[in-house]
């Protein structure tokens, strides 16, 4: 019961408007304000900064930024799909698009910006879009899908504007299967953030991503042409495209304020003072629609600062806006670009220190004061890893010589987190300082990035400060908790040693003696893998069965609809016609989708659990065995045809690949292990992108290790040159076993090598020179594996007890799962789209209607 509750009306539920509501809710403990928020969009506030991740498969629901329970608070109301259409300042009311009239004591404009669309003839044609809201993205996606059906050949899209957002949009078009074109009026990309030198490198890198650039020109007109759009550029170029996305800058949405007679800035934006108050004392403006100190900010961080200041003012405080930090920009489009502070050296007497490295394809520039002592800003292209360290130093004394600070790793002064002053802002999205983060780390005994995020909000915006958070955690003196999970306080490597030395064979014994609780999806598969590596029984026997991920449990890979895939081993990629025919027949008889994998074998997808044994019966009878595609295990040893056929080949790469694959098949490891063997230096087997790569030389084999495709590609390093077959295999044996013993869970060999103190030299000393004296043990472990290897699928088929679990339903063993359904595409089955249930609080409660996105 609040006798004197006042009414706060917030126009717009964007990132900043929502931040204000939460800040008021936090501060206004006595609930002196009743809060009503009006949102023109049909969904509540979401992370616009991360908008593009929607095209990477992030669900709309995951972009939601509204704090839990925010609008369950008494007096807090969010009205979606209802815009404010007019303000009556005299009456202190607003009118909404649904005809409602609401009175206010305080009114906040948080209406954001709208995309500027240049007056190009044809800009309103179907197929022309802007890039601002989730609805925009849905519309672009729908148009791309329509084009996929209607346009023959390559589909294309044009982005108007080569700034940060334009490049994001171009990337989005590519993800949607279109060839992107970008037209930019300025002679370089990102003209606002990047200088000429950086722009030239950026251009090269973006063009390498198959984005066609049209710089220094503009779109003259857009026409409809043969079911597509024809865009004509000012330089005469004509482009056939399916969509056009305008991304030529934003303008503050100040229409409401103008109509109500509030002061607006020369370049638009509702004029507000350092307390966010407009020319009407009862009306405030925050975020992108506000013009504070004569400036409109197109970034979220200054908007958040305004929201905090205003919340303080509304609850009796006197906070005011200080110079906003606009020095943040970092975007990853596969190309790192960072620009911060006075990047274009506009300050008086500013000096530039530039380092351009065409080989490593990086460009770095620091802008410093005339005495070269203070950092003013900078630009990094190609390698922006120093960004998180440099940005907080803007406006502060440089800790070292500017040249060495941007020199590539290895040379020069490393800029450590220690060099940062305590009040330096580490997370600029949420204005969190180094001191605040360190205090949270020590005060609350935080041990991981997750904890820091929860305690300080740092790292939850654009995410660019996360690497620095990790450094601060590591530097904080508090040992970063290396624990596997809440159940074990040790690392995987330590656990491996415990199991190896103690001879423990069950999870229960291990967790009772060395852990707590009953485990989870992190430690159980890790322990399962350790037990398997140490040859402690079939992975589906006894208690071990309960430790396995569903993939290992059913010896098949789970797919998105709950069906499984079948990948028989085809060592070295060599297969007889008879076996190929069997695969074809099995796929046909069981209605499986068939695809050649990237690992030179054949994947049969869409099997239900109860079909797996029958499928494998046929395959095993035909001489196939498990391919371990489901396990953290040795996958494939890829080969090229080699000297037997190829006119260049100098060694028999196929024979060696098959030998290696059969030697290591089934071995369980911290992550998957891939290998490749090429018959000559032309490297057709791509061996250097594998954990283990062997390349034939005239006088033997070259062994490369620790390569990786995947998330972070890395070329393998040469460990042995021109070696004989026996030494080669012995070294690989030791390499694999040493990795299995010492790596972290889910750590591929590439990142394992990076974390090994001493790197490649150390590795070589252990497995080639036997500096630790463990080679004998490693050799014996592999020998044991080779001797005991047994096909997992054959073993399952021979055992009625293990076969019993291959049913969809315990009470109806013969019944197939009715939820698994297929539709036909290109003559093969594919999963029908699954209806995802409404994500409500509780199935039986049924009552509370949540905002569902």
């Amino acid at each position: 019961m609040q006798d004197q509750q006042r009414h706060l009306v917030v126009v717009g539920n964007g990132m900043v408007g929502q931040r204000l509501v939460e800040a008021v809710r936090d501060r206004d403990a006595r609930r002196t304000w009743q809060v009503t928020v009006l949102s023109e969009e049909p969904r509540r506030a979401y992370d616009r900064v991360a908008l593009s991740s929607y095209f990477d498969g992030v669900a709309a629901a995951d972009l939601d930024v509204v704090a839990e329970g925010c609008y369950d608070t008494a007096g807090y109301t969010l009205r979606l799909d209802e815009a404010v259409t007019a303000i009556d300042r005299a009456a202190r009311t607003v009118t909404t698009s649904r005809g409602a009239i609401l009175g206010y004591e305080a009114l906040v404009l948080a209406t954001g910006s709208y995309p500027f669309v240049p007056p190009v003839p044809g800009r309103d044609l179907p197929g022309c879009f802007v890039y601002r809201t989730l609805d925009d993205l849905d519309a672009i996606r729908a148009a791309a899908q329509r084009a996929a059906v209607s346009t023959r050949g390559r589909r294309a899209g044009l982005v108007v504007g080569g700034g940060l957002l334009g490049l994001e949009a171009a990337r989005a078009l590519r993800l949607l299967g279109m060839s992107p074109h970008v037209v930019e009026l300025a002679p370089r990309l990102m003209p606002l953030q990047v200088d000429e030198g950086g722009g030239a490198l950026l251009r090269e890198m973006i063009e390498n991503l198959n984005v066609t650039l049209h710089l220094g020109t503009s779109v003259a007109s857009i026409r409809r042409d043969a079911g597509r759009l024809l865009a004509i550029l000012a330089n005469g170029t004509e482009l056939d495209v399916d969509v056009v996305v305008f991304s030529a800058g934003v303008r503050p949405r100040d229409r409401l304020a103008r109509d109500a007679g509030l002061a607006v800035g020369g370049r638009g934006g509702v004029v507000a003072d350092d307390g966010c108050r407009t020319s009407d004392p009862d009306i405030y403006a925050i975020g992108e629609c506000a013009s504070v100190g004569g400036r409109v900010y197109g970034l979220v961080a200054p908007g958040y600062a305004m929201a905090e200041v205003l919340a303080d003012r509304l609850t009796g405080g006197t906070a005011s806006i200080t110079a906003a930090d606009t020095s943040t920009k970092l975007k990853l489009m596969g190309v790192d670009v960072a620009s911060f502070g006075d990047a274009l050296a506009a300050s008086d007497g500013a000096l530039e220190v530039t380092l351009s490295n065409p080989v490593s394809r990086s460009y770095a520039k620091l802008v410093v004061s005339d005495d070269a002592k203070t950092l003013l800003g900078g630009i990094l292209v190609g390698d922006a890893s120093k960004y998180t360290m440099l940005r907080p130093l803007v406006g502060r004394p440089l800790p070292g010589d500017p040249v060495t600070m941007i020199a590539p790793a290895g040379g020069g002064t490393a800029v450590g987190a220690g060099a940062l002053p305590g009040d330096a802002q580490v997370c600029s999205c949420h204005a969190v300082t180094k001191d605040a983060i360190c205090a949270a780390i020590t005060g609350r005994g935080l041990t991981g990035v997750g904890g820091v995020k929860a305690a300080t909000k740092a790292g939850t915006g654009c995410g660019s400060c996360v690497p620095l958070l990790k450094t601060l955690l590591a530097d904080s003196g508090v040992a970063v908790n290396p624990a596997l999970c809440e159940h074990f306080d040790v690392t995987r490597a330590q656990l491996f040693e415990i199991v190896r030395v103690s001879g423990i064979t069950t999870f229960t014994e291990l967790i009772e003696r060395h852990g707590r609780g009953r485990g989870c999806d992190i430690c159980k598969p890790a322990v399962a893998s350790i037990l398997a590596s140490l040859e402690r029984g079939h992975i589906l026997d006894g208690e071990q069965a309960a430790l396995q991920d569903t993939n290992d449990h059913f010896l098949a890979n789970i797919q998105r609809n709950g069906s499984y895939s079948v990948v028989p081993r085809i060592p070295g990629g060599e297969v007889t016609p008879e076996k190929l025919i069997v695969l074809g027949e099995v796929a046909r008889d069981f209605g499986l989708y068939t695809k050649i994998t990237g690992g030179q074998r054949i994947d049969l997808l869409g099997a239900r659990v109860e079909q797996l044994p029958a499928i494998w019966r046929r395959l095993v009878d035909a001489g196939f065995e498990s391919g371990h595609a489901y396990g953290k295990a040795v996958r494939t040893v890829k080969s090229c045809v080699g000297s037997t056929w190829c006119r260049y080949g100098v060694q028999d790469s196929v024979a060696l690949a098959i030998e290696l694959e059969l030697r290591y098949r089934g071995i369980r490891s911290p992550h998957k292990i891939k290998a490749g063997v090429s018959g000559c230096a032309r490297e057709c087997a791509e061996a250097r992108s594998k954990d283990i790569g062997v390349i034939a030389a005239d006088d033997g084999w070259n062994l490369y290790v620790c390569g990786n495709g995947g998330f972070r590609p890395r070329h393998a390093d040469l460990l042995l040159a021109s070696t004989d077959r026996a030494t080669l295999i012995r070294t690989i044996d030791r390499f694999i076993m040493f990795y299995i013993r010492t790596a972290d869970r889910l750590q591929r060999t590439a990142s394992w090598l990076q974390s090994l103190d001493g790197g490649l030299d150390y590795l070589r000393s252990v497995i080639v020179d036997d500096s630790l004296g463990i080679s004998g043990e490693l050799d014996a472990a592999v020998a044991r594996h080779v001797e005991r290897y047994d096909d997992e699928w054959a073993a399952v088929l021979a055992d009625p007890e293990r076969l019993r679990r291959f049913v969809s339903f315990v009470n109806a063993p013969g019944t197939p799962d009715p939820s698994i359904a297929f539709v036909s595409e290109r003559g093969q089955p594919r999963p029908a789209t699954l209806p995802v249930p409404v994500r409500a609080l509780s199935a039986e409660a049924g009552g509370p209607t949540l905002e569902v996105v």
Partner: protein, 116 residues
């Protein structure tokens, strides 16, 4: 089995023998058109939650890894590893999402579920 239609009050349905349940592993049961995931935890307790993973729509929760989070008995979805409280079906990573929960009991060595 029960008839899926027109059964206003839910009834107890026998789904399997208690001994069919492996410790710390789940099974799915089909009751009418409802899919229930049953789990036997280490201490022998049996839990029943919905088999559908609310994040993806796939009917797979019975195939997740069973474990504990503090004192809470849990299962992790085999698809994207969100963790669910076996007692309530609520998702521990996202309190607004739940898989649903069913009453379950053991009589004469048989596992019975209230659903339908």
């Amino acid at each position: 089995m029960t008839s899926a239609a027109a059964e206003p009050a839910a009834v107890w349905t026998v789904v399997c023998r208690y001994h069919d349940l492996q410790p710390e592993r789940g099974v799915a049961a089909l009751i009418g058109r409802v899919q229930v995931a049953l789990f036997r935890t280490f201490d022998g307790t049996v839990y029943a939650i919905g088999n559908q993973d609310p994040f993806t729509g796939a009917y797979v929760l019975s195939r997740g890894i069973v474990g504990s989070c503090g004192e809470i008995p849990t299962v992790a979805s085999p698809l994207h590893k969100q963790v669910f409280d076996l007692r309530t079906g609520t998702c521990l990573d996202d309190g607004t999402t739940a898989a649903g929960v069913y009453d379950v009991r053991i009589r004469d060595g048989l596992v019975e579920v209230m659903a339908g």
